[in-house]
């Protein structure tokens, strides 16, 4: 085990490079994990029990139109929309500028906290509550439309967006985003440069393919927030871009049943939502890190840099290549598992529908599980570090300013107690599980003619969801490898440098 310990010790400073601060949550205790998994199983049976007698009727969605209420009319006024778009563009510019010219210290700079905590976490959860408002305030889209006032044909597209490309651009960008979060250098400057490059890419692609096609399929945040926004009890039916012309109240999560994934790439995107969070949860844990250092390392050590005294240093890089490869491969591993269960559903129901059609039909019912995975992993970060944005707003560059008199507010992170965090985590996962099982059943009733066939189709999917939930809970219960795992036998007892 010495090589493992030594190499881990060497890589410690690099391992700390998480774009956000390291979460302070403890592994969920085994008893709570067992309780959660049992709860998931039990909950599944209750939901199935409910559906056994359900008849496959058409949508009996109840909605309340809010468009006429004075609050919505005020919020959806062109003035408010224009102002929120200006604010959105100003915030994007502020993140880039503070990152470039502000302090290098990540928590002292507005950009890191705003981008990784407020936008990536806070805004994600807000969208799940109030709907996809991102498409109204998307800063890149807003800039495109401002330019179009001068040159109306600028973003109409030069070539039509290839249908086969689907959501692959967004998927690739999503992979890049998670890579940056987990392995990228956590300095504000890097984030700014990435955002500049991303802005250039968005404008170039909107110019090439037309803004509507690009912002629907290619712009990562647009796809990400749209999927999570479908869960919201508020729905926006826009007449045109940026125009929230109809606002309706609906039951939470039913929005996911109103659409269907139209392309493999959207299925992969949803699976990456699941797998990237699972990967983030697992990639720092003892069993995972051990796979490389105990099983792969001895094999690699016989073929790479043999005889080189700095072999460990060389192989530390391979540890990262392995981690990156697993991150990129993770949605494909999930895809294989998902398709296997879909194929089982096809066999058990003897349906004439193909595996592809079934796979796409049930894609969006996985979104709630992906969402609760995200919440369980990151909500503590939002609570502990989110409030710091109030202080950072007064001193965005970290120069010691106090623009609004809020400097120093919430400077101490607010932390929830471990057992509160555990119970919330297990509770969230169970909630997501129940919703996903429910949604999958609703989908099944749409596809299959008899409720018996629908129920049959759900047995494999139920197994899949119990598996996903149990994996999610299990990951939460794994011991975390610290910055370094140093074993006592690795210490040279004879060295006494200070005596």
């Amino acid at each position: 085990m010495f090589p493992a310990a030594a190499a881990l010790a060497l890589l410690a400073p690099v391992a700390a490079a998480h774009a956000m601060q390291v979460p302070y949550t403890l592994p969920v205790p085994l008893w709570l994990y067992a309780y959660g998994a049992t709860g998931a199983l039990l909950a599944s049976f209750v939901v199935v029990g409910y559906f056994v007698k359900a008849t496959p009727v058409g949508s009996h969605e109840r909605v309340v139109d809010l468009s006429r209420t004075s609050l919505v009319r005020a919020l959806a006024s062109p003035m408010v929309i224009a102002l929120s778009r200006i604010l959105s563009v100003v915030l994007l510019a502020l993140v880039i500028v503070t990152g470039l010219f502000g302090t290098r210290y990540p928590t002292g700079n507005f950009s890191i906290t705003f981008f990784w905590i407020i936008l990536a976490l806070g805004f994600t959860y807000a969208v799940a509550l109030v709907g996809d408002v991102y498409r109204i305030v998307n800063p890149w889209l807003a800039i495109c439309e401002w330019f179009e006032r001068a040159r109306p044909s600028l973003f109409r597209g030069r070539i039509s967006y290839p249908a086969s490309l689907g959501y692959y651009p967004a998927l690739v960008l999503y992979m890049g985003w998670i890579w940056l979060e987990l392995f990228g250098l956590a300095v504000p400057r890097t984030l700014s440069l990435v955002l500049i490059a991303y802005s250039v890419l968005n404008f170039a692609a909107a110019w090439l393919f037309g803004k509507d096609a690009w912002f629907r399929h290619g712009e990562l945040l647009g796809v990400f927030f749209r999927l999570f926004g479908m869960q919201a009890p508020i729905e926006y039916r826009c007449g045109g871009t940026g125009d929230a012309s109809r606002v309706r109240l609906r039951a939470p999560f039913v929005g996911l049943g109103s659409e269907r994934a139209e392309h493999w790439s959207l299925l992969l995107f949803v699976l990456f939502m699941l797998s990237s969070t699972a990967f983030d949860g697992i990639h720092d844990t003892v069993p995972w890190v051990d796979i490389f250092w105990t099983h792969l390392y001895p094999l690699l050590a016989t073929v790479i840099a043999v005889g080189d005294p700095s072999q460990y240093l060389v192989l530390v890089h391979y540890f990262y290549y392995w981690q990156w490869a697993m991150l990129i491969l993770s949605p494909f591993i999930y895809l294989v598992i998902y398709l296997a269960f879909i194929a089982l559903a096809k066999v058990s129901t003897r349906t004439s529908l193909g595996v592809r059609a079934l796979a796409l039909q049930f894609t969006l019912s996985l979104v709630p599980i992906a969402f609760v995975y995200n919440v369980t992993h990151y909500f503590t970060l939002l609570i502990s570090q989110g409030p710091a944005i109030v202080s950072l707003a007064s001193d965005p560059f970290g120069f010691g300013w106090d623009l609004f008199g809020t400097k120093g507010w919430f400077s101490q992170p607010y932390m929830l107690e471990a057992d509160t965090v555990w119970h919330l985590q297990v509770g969230f996962i169970l909630l997501g599980h129940i919703v996903s099982v429910y949604l999958a059943h609703v989908e099944a009733l749409k596809v299959f003619t008899s409720s018996r066939q629908a129920a049959l189709s759900q047995i494999p999917l139920l197994l899949l969801m119990v598996m996903l939930t149990t994996i999610g809970l299990w990951i939460l219960s794994l011991p975390i490898a610290a910055g370094q795992v140093l074993l006592p036998q690795a210490v040279n007892l004879t060295l006494r440098p200070w005596s």
Partner: protein
């Protein structure tokens, strides 16, 4: 309405299960610590044994601070000796595991001048080359908190405080 009835039944059933399976407070921390056994095996935390080999002081010899309370469990100070050499942790546990309310003493020796920072608790301890310095505190807040040597930008490990 029927769905509501099912949900109420479900929540009630989960509540009953929770009451049945929730371990008593005395057993919970043990289970919790067992889940982290892969790490704790590598990091002996017993207050009766030297926390690290070599020159680390035996923990049993450590004096308890003047504010020591006579109660049996709470008054025992859990001591951890860490030695940092050549930019890495040379001896001592990389994960310090204690329970809520424990009195903790971290003894630290480094080969350079530096500052230890316990995140979350926001405790700081200045070190000088070769000199043993110690940090005493009560683990009031539960969770997992990073231990960092600021000047060396070295992630030493973590303090894990489990609920009682």
């Amino acid at each position: 309405m029927k769905l509501l009835a099912y949900l109420v039944t479900l929540i009630a059933a989960l509540g009953v299960l929770f009451v049945l399976f929730k371990p008593s407070p005395s057993t919970a921390p043990t289970t919790a610590l067992n889940t982290a056994s892969a790490v704790s095996a590598a990091s002996p935390v017993s207050p009766d044994a030297p926390a690290g080999p070599g020159e680390a002081k035996p923990a049993a010899a450590v004096e308890t601070p003047a504010t020591a309370q006579p109660e049996a469990q709470a008054s025992a100070v859990k001591t951890f000796a860490l030695i940092v050499r050549g930019g890495r942790l040379a001896s001592g546990p990389s994960v310090i595991q204690v329970r809520e309310g424990d009195r903790v003493r971290v003894e630290l020796t480094t080969d350079t001048s530096d500052e230890l920072h316990v995140h979350g608790y926001d405790l700081r301890l200045k070190t000088r080359p070769g000199e043993l310095v110690s940090l005493n505190f009560v683990a009031k807040r539960t969770g997992r908190f990073g231990l960092e040597l600021h000047r060396a930008e070295l992630d030493l490990g973590a303090l894990e405080v489990y609920p009682r």
